[in-house]
Amino acid sequence: MSEKLVFDAPEIMIDRPTHYCPGCHHGVAHRLVGEVLTEMGLVDDTLCVGSIGCSVFIYNYLDVDAVEAPHGRAPAVATGLKRAHKDKFVFTYQGDGDLASIGLAEIVHAANRGEKISVVFVNNTVYGMTGGQMAPTTLVGQKSTTCPDGRCADEHGQAIRMSEIIGGLGGTAYCERVSLDSVKNIRRAKKALRKAFEMQINGTGFGFVEMLSACPTNWKMDPVSANTRITEEMIPYFPLGVFKDVTKDGEE
């Protein structure tokens, strides 16, 4: 009986088990990036700027040139890299602790300058690699190892909404928040990546895609419950949608 291959990974994906936990969405997000880079013919021209957090090891899974940035500084590193190689495709891949806390200045100013780079922002409302501490994106009431009684708005402030901020900046060409909790939303996420990447290729400006993602281990949930949490708790607070698209502005 002959076997028929019906589903395969793009060549850019290095064939090895990931270090990610069961139910983690980094694997899905990596694959979406890999698929889009492949489909757009960018693999040989791509420079990946990794960040600090679980996804620091993205370079183990994507077969592209890469540099490791200090915590939060990926947009600054990407700025320098893109300025040095304007004809290359430069993207950062950052988590929410990295991008929305320690790296807030770098992401806001890279976007505001309209750097021709693309940013993949994986928001799972928690510091994953260090063991589940409160992130700037942790929802009010959500428990973490540094807010074991749940995030308290009075004491810790509320979860920061990055796409709303980035979408409001002059240099941003494309900004969308997507979710990885369902097949439909994953398909939407891929379209968003393609759109953001096109903004760089066309020289239009800065592209930003926020992906709402699960961290079952630090949420202390099984993968299915974690997906449900995205749908029921995260999406109502972090609404999905396009926050800026310069190719559409003024058409409505």
Binding site: V49, D65, A69, A76, G80, L81, R83
Partner: protein
């Protein structure tokens, strides 16, 4: 090299022009006194060499932009002054750990804290001991004149690529702000020492490349630290000093940068009065010209280290001559601008001791 006629410029402009002559194509900076002439000059000049100028949101970002451009294998630099250079230490450590070449200029001002905007040599320790976290060193060049500022920028880029390491040019407010005649020159075509073999510029059929400072596997970090240490050992060959009137000197003054140059005037004057005093002016602070000092110590010379700080380089002088001699110290407080007269009394005192 081709020389052109002399121009009358500030040290900060000499630094900027030296960088352009060296083939710098990416500049990242943030305003801070007393180095503002550099980003102001380069804000328009970078475009003339088809280069990039970015005014960053902070020194943290500027240094990380430098890291990014360095990863791309191009000649890039950032400039700042003391408080700003403190903010850059994170990126400099990462650059050292990832073996990325780049040039950082520190136009040293007074500290600690906000200090003042006058001249100081208070960043000697930060410059020569790595400055950030982990076991690493940067090459450190210390200009004392505007011409040296120009020349050392060219040297800095070459050394950065030769060793794949950050290079610090430690100037100060005196060097940055004074105006002198400078003879600009164009070096031979830049040698990036095979940067195309390690930089990231898109795989294009070759194996992908990875530039990183994270080494988690058993023994990997120890191996990387051994690599770095052997590189720092090789760098020792770059040690240089200006040795002035030392042959028959009883007392050798050791002073660097602008203070070394001011002390040179003092030594000239004392020589004209028949005093047997000489000067060693280290041009590289890391590697430190220990051999030069040790040889002089073996000849029975005594030493006096003069700095515009509370005693930092004197540690390296003492380490250089240990077991043979020692060094006295005279510190001119940061916040107070010295003249050559200020150093007569301390030199006479130690000469006659």
């Amino acid at each position: 090299m081709s020389k052109t006629k002399r121009i009358f410029i500030k040290g900060n402009e000499a630094i900027s022009r030296g960088a352009l002559a060296a083939g710098c194509t990416c500049y990242f900076g943030y305003p801070i006194t007393p180095q503002n002439d550099i980003p102001e000059f380069l804000s328009t000049k970078m475009a003339t060499v088809n280069g990039e100028f970015v005014q960053a949101e902070s020194e943290v970002a500027a240094a990380n932009m430098l890291l990014g451009a360095a990863a791309g294998g191009v000649r890039a630099m950032t400039t700042s002054s003391s408080p700003g250079v403190s903010l850059m230490q994170e990126a400099i450590s990462y650059m050292a750990g990832s073996e990325l070449p780049g040039v950082i200029v520190n136009v040293n001002r007074g500290g600690p804290g906000l200090g003042d905007i006058g001249s100081s040599q208070g960043d000697y320790f930060q410059s020569t001991r790595g400055g950030g976290h982990g076991d690493y060193r940067t090459l450190v060049l210390a200009p004392g004149t505007c011409q040296e500022a120009y020349d050392m920028m060219i040297e800095a880029f070459d050394l950065a690529f030769k060793y794949r390491n950050p290079v610090l040019v430690l100037a100060d407010a005196i060097v940055g702000q004074m105006k002198e005649p400078v003879t600009p020159w164009e070096p031979k075509a830049a040698d990036n020492h095979g940067a195309e073999d390690w930089c990231i510029d898109g795989a294009q059929g070759r194996e992908k490349r990875l530039l990183k400072s994270l080494f988690l596997e058993d023994g990997a970090l120890a191996g990387q630290n051994r690599n770095l240490q052997s590189k720092y050992e090789a760098m020792q060959a770059e040690a240089r000093a200006d040795v002035f009137e030392c042959d028959d000197a009883d007392l050798v003054v050791v002073a660097f940068g602008s203070i070394g140059r001011i002390v040179k005037s003092t030594v000239r004057r004392l020589r004209s009065e028949g005093k047997k005093v000489g000067l060693v002016r280290p041009l590289t602070l890391y590697p430190f010209p220990s051999e030069v000092l040790r040889d002089l110590a073996k000849q029975g010379k005594r030493f006096l280290t003069i700095e515009q700080n509370c005693g930092q380089m004197v540690d390296d002088v003492r380490l250089s001559v240990r077991g043979i001699a020692d060094s006295e110290f005279h510190g001119h407080m940061p916040g107070d601008l010295p003249g050559s007269d200020d150093f007569i009394a301390p030199i006479i005192k130690h000469l006659e001791d």
